[in-house]
Amino acid sequence: MTSPLLSIKALSAVSTREAHQPVLRAVSLDLRPGEVHGLVGESGAGKSTIAKAVLGILPRTVKVTGGSVRFEERDLLTLPPRALRDIMGREITLIPQDPQTALNPSRRIEGQLTDGLRLRLGLSAAAARARALALLEEVQIRDPERVLASYPHQLSGGMRQRILIAAAFAPGPKLVVADEPTTALDVTVQKEILRLIRRMQRAHDTAVIFVTHDLGVVAKICDSVTLLYAGKVIEAGTTAAMLERPAHPYTRALIAAGPRYDRPEASLTPVPDAIFRQLRQDIEQTERA
């Protein structure tokens, strides 16, 4: 048993924006090096909040009320800002959700792809450019020279997401946080991007936290998975075990509902209201205890 790369223990947080409403309720999860871990749950379940806690970019309006986020034995929540800055963008990187807004519209790709390499790895301009070209080839971009000289609006959404994936893997991170990286893309492009992330992750032996609301995506890409509801872990385990032998009624209902469980009108069998009532009851009980 290798020691975990990332270990979240009993992480709790509240939203000061919404009358100290709990956002995370004693969330725990472990991530081994090179593992792809899915964070699943409906919108508002707290997936992005966990991702932000790992990246050290929690909004000011979210207050951590307990727990720890350990990355290789360093607690990211109590680390001095300087030490945190050294980890972020180098050992832990981010693939953002929306490739439309994650690239600066007025800068060429070259600068955006190389300034991390120059700032973080101290590469020269020429070395960073060579590295960027190699990375673009690795994410299967044809004509990388032209892409480096392009502005974001000259590229398709899929191309942009490939560039962002290249940027995330560029500094050789140990952990990549991907927050719904395919949600904003067409279905056909989605599949390619999923495969690409999986391939890059294997090639570089990088651990990935993969945030999604789609159990189908989890089945394709994740080794293990944590299912959240209202900031609480409902069920966790290996993907195979959870999808084949779901323990919790909510998990079973989600699997039955199909890929669009998040939109009752489009799902095969909507999650029954009784299950949500039960979930809320359980959460209230643990709160009181």
Binding site: I57, R60, G89, Q97, A102, N104, P105, Y151, Q154, L164
Partner: protein, 326 residues
């Protein structure tokens, strides 16, 4: 370009008609008390004032399109020549105020963006609000009182120290002295410009600071800024390299509009500081009911406004990567 031309013709017609509706007779301002009715009639005929309104306009318009704005009634000199002497002084003043306003306002916007969510932000916001409320002529009077009277460190009036009379070959004194590396004259010109430039530029700076800061804050919330921050980019570089270019659009448009207002503002500011520009001459022209001169000056102002609009639009295209790099 065509619309600009049509606009200019519209301006010409409106100003021509307006000037003939308002009361006041240029001839009455010129004659000596001993003039006979025959003298007056001769004078009227000489300036074409005895003709019908439409006829007067046609004559004037034909001449104007040929570059002939007529002769000033009060100064007895060619209007084009007079404008050629005065316009450069006003342009130097206005551009200096524009550069000052944009640089000062831009710097304040960047600083307040860097200071967001600190106690100092409120201080800057308060001062910015205060500066927004003070118009140019109030600045001018305050500056005269402080820097001209209480602590007389700056010259109160004119464009140059009358004692020094350097010979210029162009009417762009500031530029020319700089090109000639004549720093004594240059600093004398600058000293004379400080107060009018501050008076014209401070209101612009306040507006630029407010608008640019709002756009900068919005841009700083974008994902690309977050990613750049994760890459270890310093806060100042985040603002200047990542946010600024994407935030300048609204400020640019507004600066274009404000600059046209500012050109209008030179009229009163040049008067206060006895600065020998076009605006100052315009006031004299109005006092003297000098119709040819007023028409010429107003047309030049109109052409300037149109040029500013064209320049603003062109700059906006250049700054938008979508339009600049299709």
């Amino acid at each position: 370009m065509l619309t600009a031309f049509v606009t200019l013709i519209g301006v010409a017609i409106v100003i021509f008609c307006l000037l003939r509706i308002v009361p006041g007779d240029p001839v009455a301002m010129m004659i000596s008390p001993s003039a006979t009715p025959a003298d007056i009639a001769a004078l009227r005929a000489r300036y074409g004032l005895d003709l019908g309104l439409f006829q007067q306009f046609v004559i004037w318009f034909k001449a104007v399109t040929a570059g002939d704005f007529g002769a000033s009634i009060s100064l007895r000199r060619d209007v084009v020549e007079l404008i050629g002497e005065r316009l450069p002084a006003t342009l130097e003043l206005a551009f200096a105020a524009l550069v000052f306003g944009v640089l000062a306002g831009g710097t304040i916007a960047v600083i307040t963006t860097l200071l967001r969510r600190t106690p100092l932000e409120a201080v800057f916001e308060f001062l910015n609000g205060l500066f927004l409320a003070v118009p140019d002529f109030v600045w001018a009077l305050a500056l005269v009182l402080v820097l001209g009277v209480a602590f007389p460190v700056l010259p109160l009036s004119g464009r140059l120290d009358p004692a020094s009379a350097p010979a210029f070959v162009t009417p762009f004194y500031l530029l020319e002295s700089l090109v000639r590396l004549d720093f004594a004259t240059f600093s004398d010109l600058v000293a004379h410009m400080v107060m009018p430039v501050l008076a014209l530029g401070l209101p612009l700076a306040a507006i630029v600071a407010r608008i640019l800061k709002e756009s900068l804050l919005e841009a700083m919330g974008q994902d690309y800024v977050l990613l750049a921050r994760l890459k270890g980019m310093s806060p100042l570089r985040l603002v200047l390299q990542e946010a600024l270019r994407n935030a300048v659009g609204p400020t640019l448009t507004l600066t274009g509009v404000q600059f046209t207002f500012m050109i209008g503002g030179t009229v009163i500011i040049e008067r206060i500081f006895a600065y020998p520009g076009l605006g100052n001459m315009a006031i004299d022209a109005v006092i003297n009911r000098d119709l040819p001169l007023i028409q010429g000056i107003v047309l030049i102002f109109g052409a300037l406004f149109i040029l500013i609009n064209i320049a603003t639009d062109a700059l906006a295209v250049l700054l938008d990567p979508r339009q600049a790099h299709g």
